[in-house]
Symmetry: C2
Subunit: 353 residues, 2 copies
């Protein structure tokens, strides 16, 4: 079985690039994509996501047709967001947790949302190497960040990628992100459960946590609770428990717990899966699970509209030409902000007429 899996990976990583010229020419139909995804072909799954991530208008249309056909099969997974500072051990945790879940019979997809990495990110090989053990498991699919450019684009594509993975039958979608700007809020808006990974330490050392992130987490996990760090991890856990007392819980009816673990040795990792299960039971019962998903879909619509309107505005030729100068004028206090906005809006709407 392992042989077969390794073959799939080789196909994705080695043969596909080698054959890319001819393969690119061999266009798949909407039906090909849909059937491929539904029959769990990893190659077609990967190609579907590539289609979604494409910025060409033609691909966009095809992608929307594929998504429309896959949509009825989506929604049956548990979507878990995982965030943490660089170095907090996200990949190790995902590897350990992911292997556990596959052991239990689940199919696990790992997606990453990291707009900051658009320019610097490594190849797909890099991401797969990072989670080497996990990537070798049959029930697993790993997909790095889309190279969509703007955060809005990444969001759209990540949400659509979740749908495709669900239609392909994945039970659990782990969405990894790092703490860059609006990132966590974005991921929170597409998952059922949101986990914040931390490391032992106190006070100033922890100042790196982005504002508001603690409040959107459904659980905090202090990683690296191993050897000498164990005591400090427990202390950190206690401090966060105190801090959480002052915050409203991220999910109604659920008290955000704090755990310690060692993703390296695996100790304590099962706590988080237990918590996720309890969370699911409670929120499915009190209606929060469905309510959040419905609202996430509605938020998605408004986010798309918002993104499109802004995109349209700021990519408008006249606006683009004038923007730098107007920005400068505002920063040097030589123009009233309302007048600056008016100027730009006039450029946009007059051109339209």
């Amino acid at each position: 079985m392992i042989l077969k899996v390794e073959f799939t990976i080789i196909l994705d990583l080695v043969i596909m690039p080698l054959m890319s010229e001819s393969r690119k020419r061999e266009d798949l139909s909407v039906d090909d994509y849909v059937r491929g995804v539904r029959s769990d072909s990893r190659t077609i799954l990967a190609r579907t996501i590539t289609l979604i991530e494409s910025n060409s208008p033609e691909h966009y249309k095809k992608a929307q047709s594929v998504l429309k056909m896959l949509y009825p099969y989506s929604g049956n997974s548990l979507r878990v967001g995982i965030t943490g500072m660089p170095g907090s051990g996200k990949s190790t945790l995902i590897e350990t947790l992911g292997c556990d879940l596959i052991e239990q019979g689940f199919k696990v997809a790992v997606l990453t949302v990291d707009p900051s990495s658009v320019l610097t990110r490594g190849s797909i090989l890099g991401d797969k190497t990072r989670m080497e053990k996990l990537s070798r498991r049959k029930g697993c699919f790993i997909r790095p960040s889309p190279s969509g450019g703007t955060l809005g684009g990444v969001t759209r594509k990540s949400r659509e990628t979740i749908l495709v993975c669900e239609a392909a039958g994945f039970d659990i979608i782990l969405i990894e992100t790092v703490g860059v700007g609006q990132n966590e809020i974005t991921v929170r808006s597409m998952v059922d459960f949101f986990l914040l990974l931390l490391i032992p330490g106190a006070g100033d050392e922890l100042q790196g946590i982005k504002r508001g992130v603690m409040e959107i987490a459904d659980a905090l996990l202090i990683n690296k609770a191993e050897g000498d760090h164990k005591q400090r991890a427990l202390q950190t856990k206690h401090e966060y428990e105190l801090a959480l007392k002052h915050l409203a819980p991220a999910t109604r009816g659920w008290n955000t717990p704090v755990y310690t673990c060692s993703a390296q040795t695996g100790e304590g990792v099962s706590n988080i899966w237990d918590a996720i299960n309890r969370f699911q039971q409670i929120t499915r019962k009190n209606g929060m699970f469905d309510e959040r998903r419905k609202n996430q879909n509605l938020d998605w619509v408004f986010a798309l509209i918002d993104h499109y309107l802004k995109d349209n505005f700021f990519s408008h030729e006249e606006v683009q030409k004038a923007l730098a100068k107007i920005k400068e004028d505002v920063l040097s206090d030589s123009i009233l902000p309302t007048a600056a906005a008016d100027q730009l809006l006039n450029l946009f709407f007059h051109q339209k007429k």
Copy 2:
């Protein structure tokens, strides 16, 4: 002197409404407004703000001309935002602090930002009665929420009202808001210093604090530290100090302090003014004060554009007609969110062409 002040108030509250019919007809010119504001006429100041708050396109144009002429005289005040749950004692604090500041020779304007009160808010008399002592002082001007409707509108108008008050020579602008949704974030984006008012209590009792508010505050003030509550207030102070250790400070170079006070007796209120002064010194020296103001102006431009684009979109006739049904379809999962957004965007842009 007090007699004169009372006369001004009577003029605002009694004579103006009585004379409103004839006064409304008596149109002021842009110059009249500008000269009135600059010569510290409270009646004209109030009318200028009314002009700004008006939703008529004609008034909008005039207001923009007035603002343009007043803009060079703006920017010389200290802008302080004050938030807290209903019942935390904001009005009492503003009254005590405001009277202290006037005693020290400052001119103080009090504005409120409370979009939630648009439907239910009392009259201007109600707001002035609430801060009875303060409203009787000569150096003080109190203005309740604009009835602008949407939060975006309120924001625009509140920012413009700040500018007008500054041009009228007010040294300190206190902007009061209550914890409703995006409210605090909005007020934070227009002030130099942001104060969160709390009451003694612990754990669950404090859950009412909105997410993220603690992280945007430059100081926390536990009010009602009087009589039996004094000990509990100190305990609460300690707990918040611990909680703050885990958060990045709202302003670079400034460690968010926590104080206790009694707005009723005045005990401890001077601490907050001392803190604001230290804050000013530090942030003016490290550049954060100017940097924040410049960025706030730029953010204001983008917020206006954003607001206008959305407003335009959602007030579009075809979009309005289709919206309810599409929302329903999204919530009942019978349409893909991307398709829903596409439908609405098509309605908007096709009509445009």
